[in-house]
Amino acid sequence: MITKTEIEKMNFRNVWVIAEVEGGIVQPVTFELLGSARELADKRGSEVWAILLGYKIQDIQLFAYGADVCVVIDDHRLTHFIDELEAKILSRLIEKYLPEIILCGATSRGRALIPRVAVATYCGLTADCTQLDIDPNNGDLLQTRPAFGGNILATIRSSNHRPQIASVRPRVMKIPQPNNDRDGIIIFESILPSDELNSKKVVDVYHDAQSAINLADAEIIIAGGRGTHGKAGFELLRQLAQKVGGAVGASRAAVDSGWIPYTHQVGQTGQTVQTKIYIACGISGQIQHLVGMQSCDLIIAIDKNPDTPMMQMADIAIVGDMFEILPELINEINLR
């Protein structure tokens, strides 16, 4: 195995953030990562570098959020996400600049990209971190992540390899207050022939607001289960969601009944969400569902049966029929 000696390790410096650029726009997860990177770099006395790959990238100056250096590759071949190409470019940049730590968002894109980079560079990669710290003596990154659906928190080190790579779960780290007085350096790089590996091409893109791993982006989720009894029930949830600017989630029972597409499923075989408010309507709260939403800040349950696991674990448990309570709730909100 290609491990690094203490001397070799000293050549690796700085904390990198792989920016997530979509349609030329830097996505919010990037700012969250910059906040974490800044804290780590300060403890280590090093710099924060933001790496931006995309086409017609707007606002490449991420200095206000904590970056000291922005490395930019702006090229039409980076319009769409081509895993192989971005992984190649990153591997090359890593060899050139030798970062000590790399953070990437644990988004659909980050989770596809960064394992490729970790394999190519023979580096440790810890997925979906929710907490990061650094050992100031040796620069070891202490990466904490939930495993077994959140029933265990594991702390992971990769002491003998550099860089140390972590993907970070979106919406866990706080976006720092921007400081517009901060300044930094921009380095422009370009795609080299060696980056191109007979890559695939994206032939079609459809944006679909209803699709939605973007459940993860919502502040409030109104979720329905078997107790929602059908599409009409979900229409009620949708109305409430619209009123409060939330998204609609679902249990597997509701998805399997065909009342709502799979992209809305929360839980072990759906998505893990971590919203400010989660309102579970007619969801009993089997462990496979709970693991997907138990870290939400405020959990509200509405169920006829007061004794379900969901009603037991909720912060606020409302005993009753959701078909009576939800219209009243919508009413109540309308009055304000």
């Binding site: 596809a112 029933n151 003998n160 893109v205 944006h207 607001a209 912060d315 109540e332």
Partner: protein, 262 residues
């Protein structure tokens, strides 16, 4: 098409036990199941073979007991299965796991498509699929909702992402990972079950796949689990609201106000 489906045996329940010494998960303490996402991967593989012909092979790395998921795959219709099992594979992280699986795929030879689940429910990393692709230096596409064949060498992969979907055209050989919505897995037939009972599952060791043992197992893994803790418990106790629907709605809004939410 020659298809390999990578499947993993995972603990059925979420109350995982951890070995205090190695800090790795003790796999035989709880009942094991096939990773739920891999069920969709198997169905996709078998479905593609039914449409286009060829062969589907299930591949897993794990302890001897992981043979059970290969048998399950055979019951579901794959043609054969291979178990990678040896002390040297023990303690592998995703780097070493994807290395071993990639070496096995090379050994199988002439593979067109590798299908993995989106993630395994024990580690939830979603790293092994892209890791295999990187080791093989093949194209990859993740979180697929649909796979269509364009011609012998080209597939169209519909990827699910945060703001919708995209479709990418990729050249085989390639590695893909699939999400739940891609198909509806069949249940094993009686005939399938009988076939699986009698099936001999070859067990491959590092020497069978020409793997460099320094890159396998705990030795080959760049990451180390140094500590495990239970998550912080939810602190708050439950506030129960009962009564008429109108009362419940009003009381909920009042509670949210107390927390300065509305």
């Amino acid at each position: 098409m020659k298809i390999v489906v990578c499947i993993k045996q995972v603990p059925a329940s979420n109350d995982a036990k951890i070995d205090p010494e190695t800090k790795r998960i003790i796999r035989d303490a709880v009942k094991s199941i096939l990773n739920p996402f891999d069920n969709y991967a198997l169905e996709e593989g078998v479905g593609l073979r039914e449409k286009f012909g060829g062969e589907v092979i299930a591949l897993t790395m794990g302890p001897p007991a992981a043979e059970a998921v290969i048998k399950e795959a055979i019951a579901l219709g794959v043609d054969s299965g291979i178990l990678l099992s040896d002390r040297a594979f023990g303690g592998s992280d995703t780097w070493a796991t994807s290395y071993a699986l990639a070496k096995a795929i090379e050994k199988i030879g002439n593979v067109d498509l590798v299908i993995c689940g989106k993630q395994a429910i024990d580690g939830d990393t979603a790293q092994v699929g892209p890791g295999i692709a990187a080791h093989l230096n093949w194209q990859q596409a993740t979180y697929l909702m649909e796979i269509k064949r364009k011609d012998e060498k080209v597939i169209l992969a519909k990827r699910l992402h945060e703001s919708g979907y995209d479709i990418c055209e990729m050249t085989l050989p390639a590695v893909v990972t699939v999400v739940k919505g891609i198909n509806t897995p069949r249940v094993p037939t009686l005939k399938g079950r009988l076939t699986s009972l009698n099936a001999e599952i070859p067990v491959w060791k590092p020497s069978d796949i020409d793997a460099n043992v320094d890159q396998l197992g705990l030795n080959g893994s760049p990451t180390r689990v140094v500590r495990t803790d239970p998550p912080a418990p939810r602190l708050s106790s439950t506030i129960k609201i009962e009564g008429s629907a109108q009362h419940c709605a009003k009381e909920l809004v009042r509670q949210l106000r107390l927390r300065s939410i509305v």
